[in-house]
Amino acid sequence: MTGWTPRRAHFWRLLLVPLLLVSPVTAPAEAQQPSLLSRLDASSRYQIEVLMDSAARLGLPPEALMSKTLEGISKGAPGSRIVQVVRRHFASLREARAALGVDITLDELSAAAGALQAGVPRTSLAALHTNRKGSSILMPLVVLSDLVSRGVPPDDASSAIVSLTQRGALDSDFAGLRRGVETDILSGASPVTALDRRTREFPGRGAPGARIPVVPTPPRQETPSSTQ
């Protein structure tokens, strides 16, 4: 080969070896999500991408939809099911944004979307936000979703959590409430009884931060999403 001297070969070796060594380290970080999405069938993948575009246009975090997609893939859900779940998550994010406005963090928005999907009424989210003006509603939302997943009807759980925020409950109080309800349920109490008992035990933290919510908790019959 013309001009292919040992010196030139050495040069290319010096250039290529580091490139080869670096490429497997840097490539997966960027290629990871496309490779995971490629496990979806073409139709599902297209629908997910459309939803993510729509989310971005509405100022909602498309990464939340991507995360839900990846979760479904890793859990072995079929493509159609993943699309269904992501679509519902998108709708919940939009509804949470409408209920809470833009003055919340992405974590709070995601937690609120999760609570809505669990059946928590939208008005309860607004009540929480109003009651805890100035403080994060993340922990109340997390506990609210947890209570519903343990079998407490969404309306009962919402009423209890909203009531606690009115009474000035702190994040640690919500965490304690969740642990107490969990313990009672494991001991054989029904979820409703456990929540009722633990809520009554809460002494309240006095008037300073407590006030009547601006948006009241709606009556039960007006919440079609609740699971009765």
């Binding site: 979760e71 997390v142 979703s145």
Partner: protein
């Protein structure tokens, strides 16, 4: 091949982590001192080597153990045991276990005792945190003419408190044996032969029975009965596992001699790596009247080589594997170490928003501690764990919510 060479070969084979060995194999080699009381018929002090081999499968366990004593200038094979334990699937918190053992104790070529044991037990679990069991069985001595089958009944309970497991049990032994002149049951005029087989099974230490002319054992039997009340504690502190136990024997003086009334001991296992542990311990064990074993003090030091899975605990704590503890430690530079406790499993994985939902396998440290260190940002994360390719579940202690895929996901607030 001499016995010395055989012992050395077995010991070396167990110490080498053979690549061809099954992944479900564990071996253990201990060396230590045995100290018996004077007049027991055994050497008062002996150096003992005790290798063991264990094969665990989800529904059965095979164990082979042996020991060799160094007496004077000679090695001597002392005992050997082969065991098979079967476990049934769990239903409504209940499961059954069957166990069979064959063992031989040999003090020298002319003095040996064989025994076949069969035991059955029923276990009930309460939320993986406590349990009770009831069981019974037959121990059948062979070549020991003066002892009948031993009827064994037992029951106990255990509970887990934090990292510790507490257990208590009562085991009752009942068997017939030839009467002696010292018989407390009122039978008189019967005596056992002073021949050596009689000594090994007389219950009292060999040499203490007053010899009389031989008489048919069947003509002069008495019921022996005693009960052992035992308590034990297992405690895991990081890579260190401590097992301590103590007991009290209830029975008449022939079956529960003074030196076997109370006993206790402790063993510590320190896991240097996920497959290598140092074992050391000591204590006192009671005599075995059915086989003529005297009470002994012991001290041991050894190593344990474990292949996957590591042998389950002596107490059947769980039948359905579950994560019992979830902890997080800050590892610095934005990394966090997730620590899970799950016994009796071969594989533990975690995934969540912090891994882009890519499953990551944890590394086993010790018997049931699993760890992984990952870069995890401050904020709210969703997290799932799974055992042995089972269902993805939220870790214990975290709030959870429905994931939309017929399961739950843990919500983890990282601060």
């Amino acid at each position: 091949m001499t016995e010395t060479k055989a012992v050395a070969l077995v010991a070396m084979a167990l110490l080498v982590p053979a690549q061809a060995a099954s992944a479900q194999l564990a071996s253990r080699l201990e060396a230590g001192a045995l100290v018996s009381g004077s007049g027991s018929g055994l050497s008062e002090n002996a150096f003992a080597v005790r290798p063991s081999l264990r094969f665990d499968a989800p529904r059965y366990t095979l164990v082979a153990t042996g020991s060799a004593w160094h007496l004077g200038n000679d090695w001597q094979l002392a005992d050997g045991t082969a065991s098979l334990a079967l476990s049934s699937p769990s239903a409504y918190g209940l499961h059954a276990e069957l166990e069979a053992n064959a063992s031989r104790i040999a003090y020298d070529a002319g003095l040996a005792s064989d025994q076949l044991d069969a035991r059955a037990s029923v276990h009930m679990l309460f939320d993986q945190k406590a349990g009770i069991w009831l069981g019974g069985g037959i121990d059948r001595p062979v070549q020991v003419s003066i002892v009948s089958a031993v009827e064994v009944t037992s029951g106990g309970a255990w509970t887990r408190i934090g990292e510790a497991t507490l257990a208590g049990s009562v085991t009752n032994f009942a068997f017939s044996k030839a009467g002696t002149l010292q018989d407390s049951s009122g039978v008189s005029g019967c005596a056992v032969s002073s021949s050596t087989p009689a000594q090994i099974g007389s219950g009292a230490p060999p040499g203490t029975s007053k010899a009389a002319p031989a008489q048919s054992g069947s003509d002069c039997q008495r019921q022996s009965r005693f009960s052992d009340i035992e308590g034990s504690l297992e405690w895991s502190i990081g890579p260190l596992e401590v097992h301590a136990q103590g007991g009290y024997r209830v029975g008449d003086v022939l079956n529960a001699m003074d030196d076997s009334r109370r006993w206790g001991g402790a063993t510590a296992t320190y896991w240097v790596s996920s497959q290598f542990a140092a074992v050391f311990g000591g204590g006192r064990e009671p005599g075995n009247p059915a086989r003529g074993l005297p009470a002994r003090s012991f001290a041991n030091l050894g190593v344990m080589l474990a292949y996957v899975p590591i042998p389950r605990r002596a107490i059947a704590v769980t039948s359905t594997a579950a994560v019992t503890v979830f902890q997080v430690e800050n590892a610095g530079y934005g990394h966090r170490t997730l620590i899970l406790r799950a016994g009796g499993v071969e594989r533990v994985e975690v995934m969540g928003t912090f891994t882009d939902w890519e499953p990551r396998m944890l590394t086993r440290i010790g018997r049931d501690r699993w760890e992984i260190t990952l870069p995890i940002d401050v904020g709210v994360h969703q997290i799932n764990v799974r055992l042995d390719n089972g269902k993805w579940r939220p870790p214990p202690g975290l709030p959870a919510m429905r994931d939309g895929f017929n399961g739950d996901v843990g919500i983890w607030v990282v601060e």
